[in-house]
C-alpha cells in the first residue's frame, strides 16, 4: 500500500515534468508526436491521481492506522462517511484532493472535443502542468500523504468534532472545485496571449468553466456559512475570518470578470482589464491557500502553522510574474480597443462602475485581512481587524453594488435616454420608497437597514420589469401566450436570464443578511419547570437527559416551546462528548421559519439539573439559504446546454502545425 501510494505520487511528478517538457518541445519543434505524448502523460497523471485518491480513501475507510495521515485525522469509531471525509481534513490529504481536481481538469482540457485540433491546447495544458508540477513537488517532498508510522498505534487521534458535520463532506470539495476551476480560464488567457490570439475566443471558450468555478466557489462559501451557523453555536454565518475572506476575494473578482467580459465580447474593449482580472482571480486562489497553510494570520479555519505557506507564496509570485511578463510582452497587440462608448448612461458604463465597486470591495477585504500585518510592520502595534471593521467598511460598498445591480439590467447598451430611465425606473423607485416608508413605520430607524431594504426592493422590482418587458417584446413578434413567451424568452437567452436569476438570489441573500442583524439574544439559567421568554416565544425547561450516540455521549435538554401561547412542541439543544476528543461540541437546536430562526444552545448545567441556555431569535436567516439556492439555479440555468444552449466559439487565431 505504502509503495503504491508513494509510487503514484512520484510517478505522477515525473510524468507532469515530462508532459510539460513534451509540450514545450512539441510546440518549439512543431512536432505533433511530442504533443500527443504530452497529452498521454496528462491522462496518465489523472489516472495516477485517481489511484492516489482511491488508495487514500481505502486507507481511511479501513482505518489503516500505520499510516501517519490516517492516525492523525481518523479513528476506528468514526462513522464511515467522516472517515472518508478525513481525506481533506489535513494538509497532505487536502492538497492531494486539490491535485486530483487539477489533474482531472487538465485531462478534460487536453481531450476536450471542442478543443480538438486547436493550436492553443498544448499551451493551455502546459500552463496547467506547471500547476500540477508544483502540487506534486509539495506532495512528494513537503507534505507526503502516504508516510508510515514507526509502529501501529492502537487508535487514531480522531477527527475534530467540529469537522464531523455534513458541511465537512461538501464545503471543502466545492470550494476546491471552485479554486482549481479558476486555473482553467487562467491557462486559456495566458495561452491566448502566447499564441497572440487577441479576440474573445478564450473568454467564450471558458465561459462555462468560469461560471462553474464561480458556482462552486459560491456553493463552498454558502455551505461553509451554513455549517458555521449550525455547528459553532454563536448564531453567525460569516465572521470575516482571514480564511473566509480568502475565499470571498476570488469570488468577487470572478464576479467582476463575468460582467466585464460582456463588454469585450460585445464591444471588443477592456481586453487588458479582463486578462488582469482572471490573473488576479487565479492569484487570489493561491493567496488564499497561502493564508490557510502559513499560519501568518490567526484563523479558526487554518491548518496550523507550517512552512507550506512559503512555498505557495513563492509559486504565486512566480505565476504572477510569468503572467505579467506575458501580458506586457503582448501589450502592443491588445492595447488597441476598437469599440466605442457612446454615453455615460449606458450598460457599458454601468458594468464599469460595477467592476469598480466589486474591485473596491475586494481591496477593502484584502486590506482588512492584511492590515494586522501592515500595522505591526509599520508601527509595531498589533491590531485586530474583526467583524465591526468589515461591517462598517463593506456595508456602503455592497449597498452601492446592489444599487448598480438594480439599475444595470434596465439601462440599454450604447446609451439610455431620459425617457428610457423614466419608463423603467419610475414605478420601481416609487414602490421602493413606499417600502422604505413601511420599514420606518415598523419602527426601524437606523439608516442602513432602511436604505438596504429600499435598494433590495428596487433591485427585485427592476428585474421583474425586465422579465415583463422582455416577455412583452417577445409577444409582439411571436404572439405567444404570456407564460410560453416568458419561458421561451428565458430559454433562448439563457445567459441573460440566468444572470438575472442569480441577481434575484443575491437580493434574497441580502434581504436575509440585513434582517439577521436585528437578532435578539438572551442567556438564562433555569431550574426544571422554569420558563424564559424571548420575543414572542416562551421556552419551558422540562428535562435534562443523556443518551449514547455510538461511542459518544450526548447530554440534551428538552424545552417546551410556545409562541404567543400556541404549543409548538419540543426543542432539544445538545452537547456531545467524544471518546477520542477532549472538547465537547455544541449541537444547536434551530426552529427555522421564513420570518425568523429560534436558535437554542445548551451552554452549561449543574448537578442539581439547573441549566444555562443561550437563546437567539435571528430574523430572516432562512432567506440567505433560499437566496443561495436561487443563485445556484440561476448559474445552472445560464450554463445549461440544449438546443438553445451554448454556441461553441470559432477559433480565428494564428494556426500552428501542432494542436
Amino acid at each position: 500500500m505504502h509503495m503504491i501510494g508513494n509510487v503514484s505520487i512520484y510517478l505522477a511528478l515525473l510524468l507532469s515534468i515530462y508532459a510539460f517538457i513534451a509540450f514545450v518541445l512539441g510546440i518549439k519543434k512543431q512536432d505533433q508526436r511530442l504533443i500527443d505524448s504530452g497529452k498521454g502523460a496528462t491522462m496518465g497523471i489523472f489516472i495516477l491521481a485517481s489511484i492516489s485518491m482511491t488508495l487514500m480513501f481505502y486507507l481511511l475507510g479501513s482505518s489503516q492506522l500505520q499510516f501517519q495521515y490516517v492516525y492523525q485525522y481518523s479513528s476506528t469509531d468514526l462513522p464511515i462517511i467522516y472517515k472518508l471525509a478525513a481525506l481533506w481534513a489535513g494538509n497532505a490529504g487536502s492538497l492531494l484532493l486539490w491535485t486530483f481536481f487539477l489533474a482531472m481538469y487538465s485531462a478534460m482540457v487536453a481531450f476536450s472535443k471542442k478543443m480538438k485540433r486547436n493550436p492553443m491546447t498544448p499551451y493551455i495544458v502546459s500552463i496547467l502542468m506547471l500547476n500540477v508540477i508544483f502540487f506534486y513537488l509539495i506532495l512528494s517532498f513537503v507534505t507526503q500523504p502516504f508516510t508510515l508510522m514507526d509502529g501501529i498505534p492502537p487508535e487514531g487521534r480522531g477527527l475534530n468534532p467540529m469537522l464531523q458535520d455534513p458541511g465537512m463532506i461538501f464545503h471543502p470539495v466545492t470550494l476546491y472545485l471552485g479554486y482549481v476551476g479558476l486555473a482553467v480560464p487562467f491557462a486559456f488567457a495566458i495561452a491566448s496571449l502566447i499564441v497572440k490570439n487577441m479576440d474573445a475566443f478564450w473568454i467564450q471558450m471558458t465561459r462555462r468553466w468560469t461560471i462553474i468555478a464561480w458556482g462552486f466557489l459560491t456553493l463552498g462559501n454558502v455551505i461553509g456559512g451554513y455549517w458555521a451557523y449550525m455547528e459553532l453555536g454563536w448564531g453567525g454565518y460569516w465572521a470575516w475570518d482571514p480564511v473566509e475572506n480568502a475565499s470571498f476575494m476570488p469570488w468577487l473578482t470572478v464576479t467582476a470578470y463575468l460582467h466585464s467580459v460582456m463588454i469585450q465580447e460585445r464591444k471588443n474593449m477592456l481586453k487588458i482589464w479582463n486578462l488582469s482580472l482572471i490573473i488576479l482571480s487565479y492569484s487570489l486562489t493561491l493567496f488564499g491557500t497561502f493564508l490557510v497553510r502559513s499560519g501568518v494570520l490567526t484563523s479558526v479555519h487554518a491548518f496550523g502553522e507550517t512552512n507550506l505557506g512559503a512555498y505557495f507564496l513563492v509559486f504565486m509570485a512566480f505565476m504572477v510574474l510569468l503572467s505579467m511578463y506575458v501580458l506586457m510582452s503582448r501589450y502592443h497587440l491588445i492595447k488597441q480597443d476598437t469599440g466605442q462608448f457612446e454615453s455615460f448612461v449606458s450598460k457599458e458604463s454601468s458594468f464599469l462602475v460595477n467592476n469598480l465597486i466589486i474591485l473596491g470591495a475586494t481591496f477593502a477585504v484584502f486590506w482588512g485581512t492584511v492590515f494586522p500585518l501592515v500595522s505591526e510592520a509599520v508601527t509595531g502595534t498589533k491590531v485586530t481587524v474583526g467583524v465591526p471593521f468589515f461591517n462598517t467598511v463593506m456595508s456602503p460598498i455592497l449597498l452601492a453594488l446592489l444599487f448598480i445591480m438594480a439599475i444595470c439590467p434596465l439601462i440599454a447598451w450604447q446609451r439610455s435616454s431620459l425617457k428610457n430611465i423614466r419608463d423603467n425606473f419610475l414605478i420601481p423607485a416609487i414602490i421602493s420608497l413606499v417600502i422604505a416608508g413601511v420599514v420606518v413605520a415598523m419602527g426601524i430607524r437606523d439608516a442602513y437597514p432602511v436604505i438596504a431594504f429600499a435598494i433590495i426592493s428596487f433591485m427585485v422590482l427592476t428585474h421583474l420589469v425586465e422579465f415583463i418587458r422582455g416577455t412583452k417584446a417577445r409577444r409582439k413578434v411571436t404572439k405567444e401566450a404570456y407564460p410560453v413567451a416568458l419561458v421561451r424568452l428565458m430559454v433562448r437567452s439563457r445567459r441573460r436570464y440566468g444572470g438575472y436569476i442569480v441577481h434575484l438570489g443575491i437580493a434574497l441573500i441580502a434581504f436575509g443578511i440585513v434582517g439577521s442583524n436585528f437578532d435578539i439574544e438572551r442567556m438564562e439559567t433555569l431550574r426544571i419547570g422554569e420558563s424564559m421568554e424571548i420575543d414572542r416565544y416562551t421556552l419551558t425547561y422540562e428535562a435534562l437527559d443523556q443518551r449514547s450516540d455510538g461511542v459518544n455521549d450526548v447530554v440534551y435538554a428538552s424545552l417546551l416551546l410556545e409562541q404567543d401561547g400556541e404549543n409548538l412542541g419540543y426543542i432539544q439543544p445538545e452537547r456531545m462528548f467524544y471518546l477520542n476528543w477532549e472538547e465537547p461540541s455544541t449541537e444547536v437546536a434551530v426552529r427555522s421559519t421564513l420570518r425568523e430562526d429560534l436558535y437554542v444552545v445548551l451552554s452549561a448545567w449543574e448537578e442539581d439539573q439547573r441549566a444555562t441556555f443561550q437563546v437567539k431569535v435571528n430574523p430572516l436567516v432562512k432567506w440567505i439559504w433560499i437566496g443561495s439556492y436561487v443563485l445556484i439555479i440561476g448559474a445552472i440555468f445560464a450554463i445549461w446546454g440544449g438546443r438553445y444552449g451554448q454556441v461553441s466559439p470559432r477559433y480565428a487565431g494564428p494556426e500552428r502545425k501542432v494542436h
Partner: protein, 165 residues
C-alpha cells in the same frame, strides 16, 4: 439666592450622575452586549467576548464578570471599559482598529482608493464618449424609440442569428 440654589442643584447633579450611571445591568442588557462585544476574545475562537462560547475558554467568563462589575459597581461607560482593557492589553484587544493614528488608514484607504479609481473611470468614459462622438453623429430618431424593448429585440434577434448561422 437663586444663584446659590442653582449651584447647589448643579453640584447635586454632578454628584448623582455617576450614581445614576451605576445601573442594575445583567448579561441580557443591551449595554452589556455593546460593551462586551467591543473586545476580541484571545482564546483563539475568533469571536468577540460576547459571542465566545468556546469550551474551556479561560478568559471569557472572567471578562464578562469584570465588565458587569465595572458597569454595575464602578459606573463605567463603554469608553471607560474600552480604555481599561486597551491600557492592559493594547489595541489588539479591540475587535476593530482605532479611528486614530496609523489605524485610521485601515478605515479610509479603501474609500480613498475607490474615489480615486472612480475619478479614473469617469475620466476614461468621458474620453471614450468624446472619441465616439467625433466618429459619428447621433441619430435623433433613436430617442423616440423604447430603448429597452429595442435592445431586448436586438438581443433576441442576435441570439437567433447565432443559433442558425
Amino acid at each position: 439666592m437663586i444663584g446659590r440654589l442653582l449651584i447647589i442643584m448643579v453640584l447635586m447633579l454632578i454628584v448623582t450622575v455617576p450614581a445614576m450611571a451605576q445601573g442594575n445591568y445583567d448579561r441580557n442588557s443591551p449595554e452589556f452586549r455593546e460593551n462586551t462585544s467591543q473586545f476580541m476574545c484571545l482564546c483563539g475562537c475568533g469571536q468577540d467576548h460576547f459571542e465566545c462560547n468556546m469550551e474551556g475558554c479561560g478568559l471569557n467568563e472572567q471578562f464578562k464578570t469584570e465588565i458587569l462589575e465595572m458597569m454595575n459597581e464602578d459606573g463605567y461607560d463603554k469608553n471607560d471599559i474600552k480604555e481599561h482593557y486597551v491600557s492592559m492589553y493594547g489595541e489588539v484587544i479591540l475587535t476593530a482598529p482605532e479611528k486614530s493614528g496609523f489605524s485610521l488608514t485601515a478605515w479610509v484607504t479603501p474609500f480613498v482608493l475607490l474615489a480615486g479609481a472612480g475619478g479614473g473611470i469617469i475620466y476614461l468614459i468621458r474620453k471614450w464618449v468624446r472619441k465616439s462622438k467625433q466618429l459619428m453623429k447621433p441619430d435623433p430618431t433613436d430617442e423616440l424609440e423604447d430603448e429597452t424593448e429595442r435592445e431586448i429585440l436586438h438581443s433576441l434577434i442576435d441570439e437567433e442569428r447565432k443559433k442558425h448561422f
